[in-house]
Every structure is written in C-alpha cells, then in structure tokens.
C-alpha cells in the first residue's frame, strides 16, 4: 500500500507537469483541445492525490508501522478518530493533506470555469499547477509520507524494519479543536492560491478590469473565513489544552497565520473601492500577491524550524526550497505588475479626506502596518542574526504595544467608515450620522468610568464598541423602516429580507458585529486574575469571589492514558455552584508525555479556569486558578462571524459575474497612453 501511495503522488506530479505544459502550449497555439486535455490532467491529478490520501489512511487504520509516518504519529491503542487525524499529526502526512486540498481547489476552479474565461483559464491552470507541482515535489522527494523504516547495518546493507508499536499521536493534538484546526487552517492558507492565479492570469492577458476580482471575490471571502475560523480554533485549543490561561501568545506560528488574515482583510475592503470607484488597482494586485506569499510563508515558518516555536513541526530541511519558491513567485509577480502598470491606472482620484474611500485607505494602511509589525517581530531573531550575529527575540509587549492601538483604530474605522459617503461627505450629513452613536458611546464611557474602571484601553474599547454597535443597528433599522413603509412588511420579515436582498452589505455588517463581540472578549484580558496554592483535602483557595474547596483526588485510566484528577467544589459568594475536575493525563504510547486537561466554568461574564499543576506525595494538589473575564464573547463572536460571512457568501440571484471576456484596454480606454 505504501508503494501504491508513493506511485500515486509521483503520478500526480507527472500529471501536474503535463497540465502546466499543455495549458501553455494550448494557449500559444490557440488550440482548445490541448487546453481541455490540461483540464483533464488536473482532474486526474486530483484523483491520484485522493487515492494517495486514502492509502495513507489505510496504512494508519491497519497499523502498518513499517511506514515512518504511521510509526511516528499513530499507535495501536489510539482511538480510530485520532488515527484519521494522525494523517496530519506529523509533518509528512500533513503535507499530503495540504497537497490534497490544493488539488481539490484546482479541480474545482477548473470545473467551475469550464465554460467561462476561456482566454484566462490556461494561465490560471498554469499558475495552479506550478503551486501544486511545487508542493508535490516536496511531498515526493523531501517529505514523503510513504517512506518506510529500515535498519542499517555497519557494513552499509539494510533491511526493512517493523516496530511493534508506533510513537502515538502527540497527546497535545488529541483534542477535537486540534483535529479540525489544521485542515481548516490549511484551507485558509491554500485558498488564496485561487485569487492569486486569477490575478496573474489577468496580468498576463491584460484583462485588468473587474473580471478577476468578480470571479475570485467569493473565493477570497471563503478562504478568509476558513483562515479566521482556523485561527479561532487554534486559540480555543491553546486555551483549553495548553493550560497557561490564555489563547494567544504571539508565537511565531500563530503570527504566521494571522498575517495573511490581516492582509486578506485589507484586500476584502480595498476591492470594494476598486469595484465602486476604479481606484487602487495596483494596490489590490499587490495585496493578492502578498496574501498568497504570506500563506506560503506561514507554511515555511511552521515547517522549516527557522524560528523556534512550540507549535512548529520538528525542523526539516525544507527551508531553502521555500525561500527559492517564494523569491521566484515574488520576482515574477512584481515584474508582471511592473510591465502592466499602464493598464492599472486609477480611474479616479481621492476627492476628500472625509470620504468612504479615505476610510478604506486608512483601514488598509493600518492592517498592512499591523501585518508588517508582526512580520518584523516574528522575523527579528533571524534578521538580527544576519546583521549582528546574535539572535534577539521580542516578546508580547512589542506586539501588544503596536497591535492594541491598531485594533482600536480599526474598531473606530469599522464604525466611522460606513457613515462616510463615497467621494465626499458634507459636514452637515456627518453631524447627523455621528449624533446618535456618539451619544451612546459617551454614555457607555461614562458608565464604565462610573463603575470604577480606570484602564485606558478597556474604556476606549468599550466606548468604541458601543459606537460601532449603534451605527450597525442604525443601518439595519433604517433599511428595515424603508422596507416596512414601501412594501408593508412586518419588522422581522423586513429585516430578514433586507439582509437577504443585500447579502454582501448586511453580511458584512454582521461580520462587523462579530468583531465587536470579539473585542469585548479581548478587552476582558486586562482584568485577568490568577491564584495558586497547594491544597490538601478539605483546604480552600480563594480567587476573586470564588472559593475552591478540594474534596477529592483520584487516579485512573482512560482509553490510552492514565489520569490524575483533583475534584474541587466551587463556591461563589458562599454558594456552591458546581464541581470542577482539572486533570493531568499521562499518555502511555510513545513519548509518555503529560498533558493538562483544564477544568472550565464558563459564563458570559467570566471564565473560571482551573489547572492541576502537580501532585505531591501526600496527595495534596497544586492548583492554579484563573478568572478570565469576557472570554466567552470571543467564541460567541467567532460564531457570529461565521454566520455573517456565510450570508455574504451565498450567491445572489442573477448576479453571477459576467461570462464575457473583457476586451483588454476597454476599462482603461481613457487613460491608456498607448492608444
């Protein structure tokens, strides 16, 4: 089965090479049939990779430990669910999953556009196949998941080797959020390939109007959503599994998935400016290219071991290939953009600083600065080693100092942006639009101050959240009112119809709403409290208004681990509310690692978060307790974000992008100096 899988990926590599050549030959010879054969090769490659994935799954389910990936990431007693997850439990297999997703996207793009964009598609296919081919090469030659173990004797001969059991899946990964987190994140990284491929094809064919943006708008949004959900799942996992009381630590790997998300958020907004006003064309091109590269860069950070991280895979020798690939992509893309500048001229200029365009511009500026700062902080150890020969690391204070103000500025723009008109806003209309949100915001500010809160960021955050919330509610209210009076619908129906008729706009507002919830959750951070103590049976630990009484200590065994568990009664204001059981697990297979099972009492107001830090010989337990206010709202916000993005994603009837190829230069007729 291992040889079969190996054959499949090798065959897929050949097919992707063929598809690349056929697409290019087809377009240069203007022969549709050759392009068609390239498309068929894309389907075939996807089929082959799917078979390879299934053979790896088969190897894992049948406990074939002669295969190194299986031996490294699975074991006999691992539950079936986690055996499936073991596909992406170690580096080699996760690369296969990556390639599998890439090929699925490629096939989907080819199929969806089989009757459309015929002049662009060959180039799209070529770009897709270069990406797929690159990762397949890595999969076949560098990190092959079908590699088998062998024992080498001193005289150089070797024989195959079959361990009796595998190392087992890394216990930290044996958690539901961690099982879905990598695939979702991969979808989020890989999906940006599609807008990138269309952008490059548009550059080559000089069709630099709205076609490529219209075609890829939904892809971008979907990918952005996957990446966002992947980030949140990662945070959730860190929160409940790593047991240090938080969900985000500015770790290089976390940063590397946040960066493309920030740039793609910028892109989602600046695209609107291009659609509406024909501005920012070069900028959008650059954003797409950067987003795609940051996706690759994230993989590079995670897998090359260039910066140390708790999340990273063991260092592998992939680094140089990534650097070559990324440089080549960047170089070729920039040359292409430079050679097409005349087609990327802005159709209009910025009329006023008080305009929607200007708000979008600031939004873009800030998001890109945030991304750059994070990139700088993440790569600083590497940079400083190049320049001064010592690695200097930077910690959370650097990232927080920059990103907290950036977050607040963005929040402000989220509220203010929609109040501005396109082109120019009169002060009169601004005064009208700002009145109600400002009143509520000032009231909130006063209320928070009256409640005794003196933390600057928190007060500003709550004030801005209120401001944005009121602007969004106002938007819905106004639209609903108009529908009610013009169509006689009842309020609920009017609101629903309003949203469904303008999905992109109101879906977007719902996403903005989710951002408010998340910011409330983030702001809770400033009131985190912690306490710790060694508790014998019957002893108590107090934190905030909770009191924890240790009632029992137990040991036992789960399916593939042994556990130590403290049982604590939780009292709040003297009243018993529930029992929490923080736990430590010792996994028996392979590395015999210990993991922490956090016990959580979560309410919208705050989380009580308990960790069993250790057990002493006399049976008393070390408990670390945290009270983290408002964390609930982060996960709630994520759910709302998912919902809002889904609404924006559903196609609106009759609004599918034009199927006609645009004529090069038509959009740019007025400004094309060559004509």
């Amino acid at each position: 089965m291992a040889s079969f899988g190996n054959f499949c990926i090798l065959f897929a590599l050949c097919l992707s090479g063929y598809a690349l050549l056929a697409a290019l030959i087809g377009v240069s010879q203007r022969r549709q049939t050759i392009v068609r054969s390239a498309e068929h090769a894309v389907y075939a490659a996807t089929g082959a990779i799917t078979l390879a994935l299934f053979s790896l799954l088969y190897l894992l389910l049948t406990d074939d430990f002669s295969v190194s990936h299986v031996a490294n990431s699975s074991s006999r007693e691992l539950p079936v669910f986690f055996k499936i997850a073991a596909i992406w439990g170690a580096h080699d297999g996760s690369m296969l999953l990556w390639v599998f997703f890439t090929s699925l996207f490629c096939a989907l793009v080819v199929w969806l556009n089989r009757f459309r964009h015929r002049d662009m598609m060959p180039y799209v296919i070529a770009v897709l196949m270069i990406d797929l081919g690159f990762f397949l090469c890595l999969n076949v030659f560098i990190s092959n998941p079908f590699t088998q173990l062998a024992q080498v004797f001193p005289d150089g001969s070797y024989q195959s080797f079959l361990p009796t059991d595998g190392r087992g899946l890394n216990p930290l990964l044996q958690h539901w959020a961690m099982v879905i987190h990598p695939p979702v994140l991969y979808l989020g990284f890989i999906g940006f390939l599609v807008p990138f491929a269309f952008a490059i094809a548009a550059l080559i064919t000089r069709q630099l109007g709205d076609t490529w943006i219209r075609t890829t708008r939904r892809w971008t949004l979907l990918t952005w959503l996957f990446l966002g959900i992947g980030l949140i799942l990662g945070g959730k996992w860190a929160y409940v599994v790593l047991g240090w009381g938080g969900y985000w630590a500015w770790d290089p790997v976390e940063n590397s998935s946040l960066m493309p998300w920030l740039v793609s958020t910028a892109f989602l907004h600046s695209v609107i400016v291009q659609e509406r006003r024909g501005m920012l064309k070069i900028w959008n091109m650059l954003l797409v290219i950067i987003t795609y590269l940051l996706g690759i860069f994230g993989t590079f950070i995670t897998r090359s071991g260039i910066v140390s991280s708790v999340h990273a895979f063991a260092a592998s020798n992939l680094g140089q290939f990534f650097i070559i690939y990324m440089s080549a992509v960047l170089g070729v893309s920039l040359i292409l953009v430079a050679s097409r500048l005349q087609y990327l001229k802005s159709e209009r200029r910025l009329d006023s600083i008080l305009s929607r365009e200007s708000a979008f511009l600031f939004n873009n500026l800030i998001l890109v600065v945030a991304c750059f700062a994070i990139l700088w902080g993440t790569m600083f150890p590497v940079l400083s080693e190049w320049i001064r020969d010592t690695q200097i690391t930077v910690g959370p204070p650097f990232f927080n100092n920059i990103n907290v103000p950036i977050g607040l500025l963005l929040l402000l723009l989220t509220g203010v942006g929609p109040l501005f008109a396109w082109r120019k806003t009169s002060l009169e209309s601004l005064r009208k639009a700002f009145l109600l949100p400002s009143i509520f915001a000032v009231a909130t500010c006063a209320a928070v101050l009256a409640a005794g809160v003196r933390n600057f960021s928190f007060v500003v955050c709550m004030t801005l959240c209120t401001f944005v919330l009121v602007t969004i509610v106002e938007e819905f209210y106004k639209g609903t009112r108009i529908r009610m009076s013009s169509r006689g619908e009842n309020p609920l129906l009017a609101a629903v119809n309003l949203t469904l008729k303008n999905r992109r706009r109101y879906g977007g507002y719902i996403v903005h709403l989710s951002i408010i919830f998340m910011f409330v959750g983030f702001a809770g951070n400033v009131f985190n409290q912690e306490a710790s103590g060694r508790l014998a049976k019957g002893a108590e630990l107090t934190i905030k208004d909770y009191s924890l009484k240790m009632v029992d200590y137990r040991e036992g065994a789960g399916s593939n681990y042994q556990y130590r568990r403290a049982v604590l009664d939780v009292y709040k204001d003297g009243k018993r509310i529930r029992t929490l059981e923080p736990e430590q697990r010792m996994f028996t297979a392979g590395q015999q690692q210990t993991t922490t099972e956090v016990a959580l009492h979560s309410t919208p107001k705050e989380d009580l978060y308990l960790v069993l830090a250790g057990v002493s010989r006399d049976g008393s337990v070390d408990i670390k307790a945290f009270v983290n206010p408002l964390v609930f709202w982060i996960w709630f916000g994520a759910a709302v974000m998912f919902f809002g993005a889904l609404i924006a994603l559903i196609p609106e009837k009759g609004r599918i992008g034009s199927t006609q190829p645009e004529l090069a230069g038509r959009q740019t007729a007025g400004v094309n100096p060559g004509v």
Partner: protein, 181 residues
C-alpha cells in the same frame, strides 16, 4: 462644494458592499452622478485630500513605530545557547537572555520554594532558578530541550521568568530511513 450638498445622507445609497446592496431600498440613483465635476477645482481638492491622507498616515505610522520601539526595548532578549552564554565576555547585567539547552536528567529540584534545575549544551551547564509565576509546561522534564528567559543573578545562577520546553525527538534518530521507490 455646492454640488455636494444635494447628496443624501450616506447610508441611503452608499453601500460599502458594492452596487448589489442598492436593491430593495430607496433610491435607484443613476450611477453617473458620481462622476460629475472633474474640473480644476476638484483637482486642487485632490492634491490636498491626498496630502491629508499621507499626513494622517505618517502620523499614525510614526506613533505606532514609537510604541513598537518602546515595546521592543522592554521585551528584547538575547537568544543564545548555554555554552555561548558561558563564553560571553561582555557584562551580562542589565540584559535579558533567552537560553537554550537540554535539561540535565535528575537535576530538577522541586523541593525548594522556587524550582531549580540545570540546563546544559556542549558540556557547559548553568544552574537555573525559576522565579516566574506561569505554569511550567508539561513538556518540561528530564532531557527535554528548554528555553529559559530571564537574567543573570549576582550569585552566578540564572533567574528564569519564563520557561518553554520541547520534547526531545529521540525516536526518529533511532532508525534510518529509506524510501520505498
């Protein structure tokens, strides 16, 4: 200026989400109305709008840069291995280090109020006292690769405020691999 006074309140027809959003509510504004007046006046405005944006951008970026610099100075740490630390000739006081090394088996002493252990690399060792408050990670144990962040104490030990640890990957080193094909 006059020409813009007849613009309706923004939310009535200006959608951040494209023209699709116009349906269902209010106005069917002819789109060309946005394109009027491209004369000399607006050209002057253009320059100043752009200049204002650039000015605003510069102020924002400068402020963030300053905040970043402050945060950087506060949190920078020299990331070196234990033997490099031992070989340092410059004064160690006043600098924050992040030392990488392996935890010497059997050296972890949890009996004292503050945990002590020895980390080593290339036959150089240093005694580390953990003075931080965070939970010691599960991966921290005999033989694991640890990163300790902190500073030199006057008594020659190293006071760590933060510990990261990774399991040593022994298993992979035990077998050589070869591909099947």
């Amino acid at each position: 200026m006059q020409a813009n006074n007849n613009l309706a309140p923004p939310s009535d027809f200006n959608s951040p989400f494209g023209k699709a959003a116009l349906d269902g509510i209010l106005l069917k504004e002819p789109r060309f109305r946005f394109r009027h007046k491209e004369g000399r006046d607006s050209l002057m405005n253009n320059v100043s709008a752009k200049a204002k944006f650039v000015l605003g951008g510069v102020v924002i970026v400068a402020a963030l840069g300053w905040l970043g610099f402050v945060g950087f100075e506060e949190s920078k740490a020299y990331y070196i291995t234990v033997d490099e630390y031992a070989a340092l000739t410059e004064p160690r006081e006043g600098r924050v280090f992040k030392l990488a090394g392996d935890v010497v088996a059997g050296s972890i002493d949890r009996s004292k109020p503050q945990m002590e252990f020895i980390i080593a690399s290339n036959n150089k060792e240093i005694l580390v006292r953990y003075v931080g408050k965070d939970i010691i990670p599960d991966t921290f144990r005999d033989g694991s690769t640890a990163l300790v962040e902190g500073s030199a104490a006057p008594d020659g030990t190293f006071h760590a405020r933060h510990i990261e640890a990774k399991c040593a990957s022994k298993y992979e080193a035990e077998y050589d691999k070869r591909t099947t094909s």
